[in-house]
């Protein structure tokens, strides 16, 4: 870990301004991902801006009938909120499928959205990685790629986004609210928030320099059955091989987003039209253009099977 300076931000706009002033600054909230990465010198911020004192830790109703979740609401609190459990069950289930109780107690809503990939080559600073060191190459391609992406990948990067929460937010069409250093705000659809790797895999979101997440909003409830199925090699405390977030209506229509397969939560609205025809048709559209490696080709089948199982559960 490199030495760094530290400040406590007094307001969101001050946090944003402080981050804009120093290109090597990072916000720190729960620190459940950032501190690990700093110890390994994968992240080397010279300045940390602690945003834990900013409040932003409540969940409030919006005038549109949805919920505004403060950026610093802890994952445990978000998953346990009665309104979330009642109307956005897929989000609650997704959060509880991730990490451990201890980590969820610390991890925040905004921090979860910004967590980095778990690609093992990203984690080994001796290995080339375009995400960690732009232009150095991708050692995962042709290497140990069992856990990695199959769709939306690029020649530069096949990493996946490890978040479960983000998959739940994606299927709910959440919106990320931010504040920029000049105090202007913007609303970013979750679909647009995470980027595909392309040839700049080190740029993972559309956030601008200094731009600070203040909240995530959920639109008014959409009803239906809310399911989250996470498939992994052990029963708990592991990243998804494949996960499926689904909201399925009684007539068989619905929405699905997939985790564990891409650089962002993977949702293809066109594929959802196929849902009433079953998992095979829907997953074919979902994974159209997939380029799995020899080691993770099984994920193509696994998406279809997991989706099929989720649809069956929704019908039952």
């Amino acid at each position: 870990m490199r030495a760094f300076t530290y400040e406590r931000a007094a307001s969101p706009v001050q946090a944003a301004a402080a981050a804009a002033a120093n290109p090597d600054a990072k916000f720190i909230a729960g620190g459940t991902n950032l501190l690990d990465l700093m110890k390994l010198e994968i992240e080397t911020p010279t300045h940390l801006i602690d945003v834990n004192g900013l409040g932003l830790d409540t969940i409030e109703a919006t005038s549109e009938g949805g919920l505004r979740v403060g950026a610093l609401v802890r994952n445990t609190d978000l998953a346990a909120d009665e309104r979330v459990r009642r109307n956005y069950g897929v989000l609650s289930r997704a959060i509880l499928a991730g990490a451990s109780g201890q980590l969820r107690n610390r991890a925040t809503t905004a921090g979860n959205l910004l967590q980095r990939t778990r690609c093992p080559y990203f984690y080994d600073t001796a290995q080339p990685c375009n995400k960690r060191q732009p232009g150095s190459g991708c050692s995962a391609i042709g290497g140990f790629s069992r856990q990695l992406g199959i769709v939306g990948t690029s020649e530069a990067c096949i990493a996946t986004n490890p978040s479960d929460m983000a998959v739940g937010l994606r299927v709910l069409d959440a919106t990320v609210e931010t504040m920029k250093p000049d105090a202007t705000t913007r609303r970013i659809a979750i679909a647009e928030f995470h980027r595909l790797p392309g040839d700049t895999p080190h740029i993972e979101t559309v956030l601008e320099r200094g731009e600070f997440i203040t909240a995530v909003t959920l639109p008014s409830p959409v009803g239906g059955k809310h399911l989250y199925r996470k498939v992994r090699d052990r029963a708990s405390y592991a990243f998804a091989l494949v996960s499926v977030a689904a909201v399925i209506q009684q007539d068989g229509t619905g929405r699905v987003a997939i985790g564990g397969v891409a650089h962002k939560p993977w949702r293809v609205e066109a594929a959802e039209a196929e849902l009433p025809r079953g998992a095979k048709a829907a997953s074919e559209r979902l994974l159209d253009g997939a380029k799995p490696s020899h080691e993770n080709a099984f994920k193509v089948t696994l998406v279809e099977r997991t989706l099929g199982s989720v649809l069956e559960e929704a019908r039952s």
Partner: protein, 729 residues
Amino acid sequence: MKFDKPETTNPIDQLKIVGQAVNRVDGPLKVTGAATYAYEWHDPDARLAYGYPVGSTIAKGRIATMDLSQARAAPGVVTIVTAKEAGQLGKGSLNTATLLGGPVIEHYHQAIAVVVAETFEQARAAAALVHVTYEEAEGKFDLSAEKDGLGPTDSDVKVGEFETAFAEAAVRLDETYTTPDQSHAMMEPHASLAAWDGDKLTIWTSSQMIAWSVGDVAKTLKIPPANVRVISPYIGGGFGSKLFVRSDTILAALGSRAAGRPVKIALPRPFLMNNTTHRPATIQRIRIGAGRDGRITAIAHEGWSGNLPDGDPENAVDQTKLLYAGANRLTGNRLATLDLPEGNAMRAPGEAPGLMALEIAMDEMAEKLGLDPIEFRVINDTQVDPGNPNRPFSHRQLVECLRIGAERFGWSARNARPGTARDGRWLKGIGVAAGFRNNLTTKSGARVRLDGRGVVTVETDMTDIGTGSYTIIAQTAAEMMGLPIERISVRLGDSAFPVSAGSGGQWGANSATAGVYAACVKLREIVAQRLGFNSTDAVFADSEVRSGDRRALLAHAASNGEITVEDAIEFGDLKKTHQQSTFATHFVEVAVDAATAETRVRRMLSVCAAGRILNPKTARSQVIGAMTMGVGGALMEELAVDKRRGFFVNHDLAGYEVPVHADIPHQEVIFLDEIDPMSSPMKAKGVGELGLCGVGAAVANAVYNATGIRVRNYPITLDKLITQLPSAA
């Protein structure tokens, strides 16, 4: 004390304290954080400095340049030691690669420098500023690519005429199985604190084998063993990775010498996979031939594994010499040279991967023969060494393990036709496998002291790696001296104490308590003499010594000063005349998701026949831990080899998955009532490794029973099942 005749009755047979489910005597220290582990030693007056290792980032080649200037200038840095500064070092007799590499690099993350600084954080930050360039050489990292060039060797063990008998057998099996590289992944990493006093070195560390450590530290540093003191009273798991001196110890010693201050080092988690040892991957070919009656006539087991030059093979074939009958036999190891990190012992080395393969083969063969897998094993039981029928087993209850386990687990409810039992979305199956591990014994010493308060203190360099050594040693001394266990103080893990068996190969419990027994026999004689008793008829009970109507307080024997005696158990030829082994059966029920092929274990049972169980509570803990490790090996554990760069890629506990609580369901352990007078005066054997042996295959056989899919390549992850699931057809 020489142990060379079968044991008759002795005071241990009273079983007032030995054999009872006594709580861990060190439990309160551990749960209150008062037990000092290696990295926790702290002397505020000692001007302690912290070391951090630098590991090679290539697998094979040479260091071309090494620039320490930036690291030396970093805040808090005290000194940096590389091979150049260290001067000529020896190599430990139990090490394959050198522990401080350079300029030659033998494997990835081989230590090439240690940075010593005022704080841990400063040392870690400065270590990242050591700039190294390499001349990389081409290495060999792919066992399967090397296999074809490796055939039979002179050391193959042959009995009868295998090839002929196999060719003539009515029913034959010829299959190949693989097991991956595995990591010990114990909770406490390797850690050492080293301090020099002149030319004398003291090391507080985490070691399973104190005397081995003393020897190899001395050899590596080229100093007399008498100048080395090793202290390791508490160990946070080892599983074999702490049998040997590793880089933390040598770097701490070198760093301390250069800094002129005590230096403390813990290996970072990624170093555990690539800097220390691992269980090597194997490829195993098994051939079994049998008559239609199910009797094995020919059995062959060949194992391929790889290691660094001068390393040993993973002996996955050893149990096949002894486990089942059959007149014609062939076993052999083929060793490839690989440039991966050093392969070495991990819990039940040899048998753990060997039985993962053999016990699938037995399941497959039973099916070919149309026999129940339990009956097939019973038919092929042997009470003698099949390679030398004049040599019986000292005690072998494999058949009893099979029968009792079958009854307790409900084996008769098993649906023999695979893929036919359903529970909602789950395919259900049950499987069985035999477990086998030899009973190793080795010389073990102890010192016992009786003081005037009637407290007996036991000192031995035996270690407790979480197994319960403190407790069973206290039980042994309490039983022998007729004292309540609270009156026994046990001090372990210090080279100032008599050399013991140490913890490894499941030899520790039996050998080390036998050594304490021997010392207590001597103490009883002196006590009886002091109190005026005839030692042959003196009874030690209730803190007294009695004979006829006479009685005296034990403590009175030491009223004029502490009595100290020392002895060791030394094992004679009983191992040659009798094959001593431990036996188990493992029963497992699994459920496999019919859609996603996720496998979840539902219940497990192990039945163990392993001599006298010294403490059913600590023994059970060892066995359920081993069963858990077996589930890991069966379903998830694999060090992923990058065959281009030559290293284990998933080098942390997020990438190298071991079972979590949610993976482990109901576990039951049954110990058969068994005493083995050939094994030691304790009549005990070991269970710590037996509990692992065969578990993986029982899981694999249960998965087959659930799905009809025979996976011969561990771990059985869902990708190996998903396209063949019955529902997929």
